[in-house]
Amino acid sequence: MRKEPLIPGIGVVTDIRRDTPDVKTFRVVGLDGKKPFEHIPGQCAFLSMPGIGEALFSITSSPTNTEYMEFSIKKCGCVTEWLHQIEVGQQITIRGPYGNGFPVETDFKGKDLVFIAGGIGLAPLRSIINYVRDKRENYGKVTIIYGSRSDDDLVDYEEIKNEWVNEPDFSVYLTIDRETPTWDGHVGFVPNYVKEVGLDNTATAVLCGPPIMIKFTLANLQELGFKTNQIFTTLELKMKCAIGKCGRCNVGDKYVCKDGPVFRCDQLNELPNEY
């Protein structure tokens, strides 16, 4: 008999890392100690605790990681609050992968890539950035622009500082919204920074962050000469099933869970403005 898609499997949290004051990264494996399932960058999984609720998170780890899966989760609702207080060894339920993911093997192949993220928006991008690092020969130059409220709020700062910046043909630009005593880098909002770093407008851009950042960054990218079919972003709406049936996450005739979460901007422009 086929398995009911809404019935999850069980995963174990084997490591919890505090990234920022309100973001933790959880390492999850299956009961057999292996990675719960295979995925492509940008896809999501449903995590839940029975009795608390179920919520969809993008998978932060790269598919090239064969041992475990990671989720960077910001505390903002009831499920995430519960997740933030658990300890290593806690079992959770997990089902997935859901969504279309980034077109890493098609549209992105051989291209120069620009990743622009704000705050917890780095979570889905981290998956693809690490994927690109592991399959370096398939992709061109990589530019990463990442901003956050403060230096404390930079997700995965250690990895960025110690690994990403040293990667060949990688340029990493970090920025924070407001000056802090411990920060000697760039200060300013991401959309403005995008215009300052001198992007090559033939590259493919991938955006993820709060709606307001996306809105302004999009405008600025287009000013720089990026075409809408060169820009990709991810959407997030309320979901209950992730299989295109519960009827919540549609934007027009597209279901974010099934047809998304990754959309190209020209596709988005054809959809009603309800996200």
Binding site: M1, R2, K3, E4, P5, L6, I7, P8, I10, M49, P50, G51, I52, G53, E54, C76, G77, C78, T80, I86, E87, G89, Q90, Q91, I92, T93, E236, L237, K238, K240, C241, I243, G244, K245, C246, G247, R248, N250, G252, D253, K258, E270, P272, E274, Y275
Partner: protein, 341 residues
């Protein structure tokens, strides 16, 4: 074709109910709804429309999915109980029967819903022609023929007899089991007469020729941005009556309930008309009732056809026309938006 006298139906019911869960339109406290038959049930085959549609039989209002037990940091999952009973649903009208095909598109395509699929596979559908369609019916607009209701077995009630005709293998199987209750009926004229009567009535129903031509996927943005939604949705209370009586509404919620020793996860009907439908930690993408109202009708008339080869997610049963507390309905939407060319 075969026929059975209406007064012998209770015997037929109890025979079918021996091996199957039998669902019939049953009268209870003033309302007729599909419910499991037992010998005390008051069957009402004359009721044109049950209050709720027949979708409950495949997509019940609440469906237990899985039960968890939580012990410290450990979680265990109890295997779900699958609906393995054989079912017969009797007295389904053409519109409701058509709605099952639409629900199939929603639930069986891509990740199939196993509960739904299993119930579908285990159920034999016996339909019944609508002898007296009413003013709110507009099944004809969707090419449904209420006089020839299809399903696994079609039936007609004419002059004290129920005429029975199997259409599918499942229907033939059921017919073989129950054939002793029937007498052979070589003369189709009674049924044919009724059919032409029904078709004649339907032809003069006010909504039969409602114009759907405006609702095509390429008009998605134009329809979505129409300024008329505001006035259309003005009186909407945001209740779920239309969605819960609708045979094709399929949205659901997944919820947990803490039982005595574990957690029961269940799926239950939800309504896109409810204020909290799309509410989550970061906000609400459809904060106003106008947006929720628009979503429901856009889904039925544009989004669903766009994803399913132009098939509308409406069967013209007219339940929303009759049940909306403030008398808003899909026909008013079709007429209002359809009139601008």
């Amino acid at each position: 074709m075969m026929k059975i006298s209406l007064k012998n139906l209770p015997e037929l019911y109890s025979f079918i109910a021996k091996k199957n869960d039998l669902y019939l339109p049953i009268f209870k406290a003033g309302q007729v709804d599909f419910a499991k038959w037992d010998k005390d049930a008051i069957v009402d085959l004359n009721k044109l429309k049950t209050t709720k549609s027949a979708k409950d039989v495949f997509f019940p209002q609440s469906q237990d999915l899985v039960r968890f037990e939580v012990d410290g940091k450990k979680i265990s999952i109890d295997e779900p109980i699958m609906p393995t009973n054989k079912q017969v649903i009797f007295g389904v009208k053409a519109c409701d029967n058509r709605s099952f095909e639409l629900l199939d598109m929603a639930f069986v395509e891509d990740y199939p819903d196993t509960f739904y699929e299993m119930r579908r596979a285990n159920t034999t559908i016996v339909t019944l022609a609508c002898a007296k369609p009413d003013e709110a019916c507009f099944c004809k607009a969707y090419g449904i023929d209420a006089a020839d209701p299809k399903g696994d077995v079609s039936t007609w009630i004419v002059d004290g007899y129920l005429h029975w005709m199997p259409n599918t293998d499942k229907g033939i199987e059921l017919t073989t089991e129950v054939k002793d209750f029937f007498e052979l009926d070589m003369d189709n004229s009674a049924v044919e007469n009724q059919q032409s009567e029904i078709r004649a009535i339907i032809d003069r129903l006010p909504y039969s020729n409602i114009d759907l031509s405006k609702f095509t996927p390429d008009k998605l943005l134009e329809l979505f941005n129409s300024p008329k939604w505001k006035a259309l949705s003005e009186a909407c209370l945001g209740c779920g009556t239309c969605t819960f009586v609708c045979p094709t509404c399929q949205c659901y919620d997944v919820k947990d309930f803490k039982t005595k020793t574990g957690v029961q996860r269940f799926k239950c009907w939800d309504s896109c008309m409810f204020a909290d439908f799309t509410k989550c930690a970061h906000g609400n993408t459809r904060p106003s009732q106008m947006q929720r109202y628009r979503q429901r009708f856009m889904h039925k008339l544009v989004y669903f056809p766009s994803n399913h080869d132009g098939v509308y997610s409406c069967v013209g049963c007219g339940r929303c026309v009759q049940k909306c507390p403030q008398m808003l309905n899909i026909v008013k939407v079709i007429k209002t938006l359809g009139e601008d060319k």
